[in-house]
């Protein structure tokens, strides 16, 4: 057995939520009048008196009263051995990113302790430290330095990085003239050539076109094969199964399960399936933060409707259903399209559809809202649980305005025959009714 490189003992991380005193602007001070400075001093003094030993009872109720606190991590203990690839699994807000931040020292834990043996490289975001005024070449060097690469190391790998990124021709162009896809490629190329002993990767690799995602996953596979230790957050269950040797399932800040990657993924998928039974079929997205893109155009709400027009998230196999999108334009944008991917529980992309396949492509005008509906044919998906992936992208460049890896789940059930057909045990995802004919 190889030696332990990460040992976490009862890690806990408490965050303040609501609007505590900490963040005051001049405007508040003016409106609050003369006494604000005194309160400010008071809160300063209060802060230094030890905010560290909060009570665990105030933890994760999920309901946030103003000035209350939440435990993003609670009593998290685990060990990682050299060369293991650990997949971090869990719902949004389960504490996966917080755990990576604590392990990479971006933020300190509120309690507990962790030991990390070896150089840590963390990739929580692609393109950290990029500056729009600097050229691609300059940014590559800067980003490398920020991620922990030495100048010599960078010089040695520079050609390789440029080749991987595919932006050779624009190396001396300021980054602000790059499309977001090009920025992403350059950023990932730099990050991919990081060679720490321990690599912490958040779900950054899921963005971008399929070709790019494949490249990223390929690189991740290479890294794990080289025997480096990797902690990897993903919602892509297929990738987790393939890349990881171990799984760590976080739920509401605590470790729910730890074991082989396959076991954890199965248990997680089963739990999500049971949770999906309680989904209402309406997803309010305005306040969600698990998204990517500049949000010049954004999704505000998505609803599922069954054949009877009712709002639901469970449909019979042979039932036609519709997904309705509400979109808000915060800026005027030309030719932006809605792209939808239906993912199976193991992360396989089952269906891909763009609104402009059948509806017209139109411009989005600042300040206006738009509604769009997509009707799914009956007999399409085999019974099971599916996730809805949605993006608003530029038609020409595929630059991302707004993008969710998973908006939420919906389920397809065997059916009662009410819609004319009951599912059987065919293995394929899609069971369309096709025209068969004797000749």
């Amino acid at each position: 057995m190889s030696e332990i490189v990460i040992r976490a003992e009862s890690l806990g991380k408490q965050y303040r939520i609501g609007t505590p005193e900490r963040y005051r602007a001049l405007r508040d001070t003016l409106t609050d009048g003369l006494f604000a400075p005194f309160r400010l001093l008071g809160s300063l003094a209060g802060k230094s008196n030890g905010s560290s030993n909060g009570s665990a009872r105030t933890a994760a109720s999920g309901l946030a009263a103003p000035n209350s606190t939440i435990w993003a991590l609670r009593d998290v203990s685990f060990e990682v051995r050299r060369g293991e690839a650990v997949g971090l699994i869990g719902r949004n807000g389960a504490g996966k990113t917080t755990l990576l931040k604590v392990l990479s020292q971006i933020t300190l834990p509120t309690r507990g302790r962790a030991e990390v043996h070896g150089r840590v490289g963390s990739l929580l975001e692609v393109g950290t430290g990029f500056h729009p005024e600097l050229t691609g070449r300059e940014n590559a060097y800067l980003s490398g330095a920020i991620l922990g690469m030495s100048k010599r190391e960078m010089e040695r790998k520079f050609d390789e990085i440029v080749a991987f990124s595919g932006v050779e021709r624009f190396l001396d162009t300021p980054l602000k003239h790059y499309s977001s896809g090009m920025q992403m490629r350059l950023a990932f190329a730099v990050a991919a050539h990081l060679e720490p002993e321990i690599l912490l990767v958040d779900e950054v690799l899921a963005v971008g076109d399929i070709e790019f995602q494949k490249k990223c996953l390929g690189k991740m596979e290479e890294v794990t094969r080289q025997g480096r230790t990797v902690l990897f957050v993903s919602h892509n269950m297929g990738a987790l199964r393939r890349l990881c040797t171990r799984g760590l399932w976080l739920d509401a800040g605590g470790v729910r399960q730890s074991g082989s990657a396959g076991e954890c993924v199965d248990a997680y998928v089963a739990s999500v399936e049971s949770a999906a039974r309680e989904e209402t079929g309406c997803f309010d997205l305005a306040a969600r933060t698990d998204r990517h893109g500049d949000r010049r155009v954004q999704m505000t709400r998505i609803r599922f409707r069954g054949a009877d027009g009712g709002q639901r998230s469970r449909f019979e196999f042979a039932e036609p259903f519709a997904i309705e999108f509400e979109i808000e334009a915060r800026d005027t944008v030309r030719s932006c399209f809605v792209g939808v991917t239906i993912l199976a529980a193991d992360g396989t992309n089952v269906i891909g559809t763009h609104h402009c396949d059948t509806a017209e492509l139109r411009d989005f005008v600042r300040g206006h809202s738009y509604r769009l509906s997509c009707l799914f044919e009956p007999n399409t998906l085999k019974p099971g649980l599916y996730a809805l992936q949605v993006g608003l992208l530029d038609f020409a460049t595929w630059d991302v305005y707004d993008w969710f890896y998973s908006v939420g789940q919906f389920a397809v059930t065997d059916g009662t025959g009410k819609y004319g057909r009951v599912s059987d045990d065919r293995p394929a995802f899609v069971h369309p009714v096709l025209q068969w004919e004797w000749k």
């Binding site: 990479s104 020292q105 971006i106 834990p109 070896g118 500056h131 991620l147």
Partner: protein, 283 residues
Amino acid sequence: MTESTAVETRGVPLTIITPPRGWLRLDLDEVWRYRELLYFFVWRDLKVRYKQTVIGAGWAVIQPAFTMIVFSLFFGVLAKMPSGGVPYPIFYYSALLPWMYFANALTQATNSVVENQRMITKVYFPKILLPVSSVVSGLVDLGIAFLLLLVMMAWYRLPPTLAALWLPVFLLLAIASALAAGLWLAALNAIYRDVRYAVPFFVQFWMFASPVAYPSSLVPAEWRWLYGLNPMAGVIEGFRWALTGHGQPPSAILAASAVGVAVLLAGGLFYFRRMEGTVADVV
């Protein structure tokens, strides 16, 4: 116990991560290990500062030069400030050099943490590099502006004296003052955004409390000791004296304000370090 300690065992760095407890140790070794990143931050500041400008680094000269002209006209020619025979342009420019360096370095250091908040929440590095890089990159502007001073001194036939050897001492004091105040303000700014708005005023008041527009001989003798507590008063008088021989050579008051700066700097270092552990959560 400290927040996190790094120990090397057989070439493998070991990091121990624990909650913040009280005042933390400084861990200047770590800053040394990250010196290359400091270099990159300075390089970035310099690259970005004059990108897409026509005059470029010329701005480093234009700002003090125009201020010098305005000061010479209004405070010099019109208000007849006593300059002890030193030509007004030299009298003002030699004071504006350290002052403008200090004011810009302080302002940039104050904003450095907030401006890089995105980076701070996404990757680990000693945050202290940010204000330090602001203070260091300002030196380049100072160097460029200094060239004009040499030209002016040649024009007025004012050869530098041996006193000029004192310049590095005053410069060091200016750097330390900017860093000391910058560390405190940068840490406070991360938590209270009021600081960002207060600093320009603060800097303006500080200028009037320093002998930029007037010689310190105008300050009544009984208040001199209080005035001397302002380290920039010592720095600016020192610059003038070292370059033109005007005013008093450095005295005990300068030593006292140097001690004051050292205390402020040490406090700033500890306060900033203390803030580092939580900055990613509040910034």
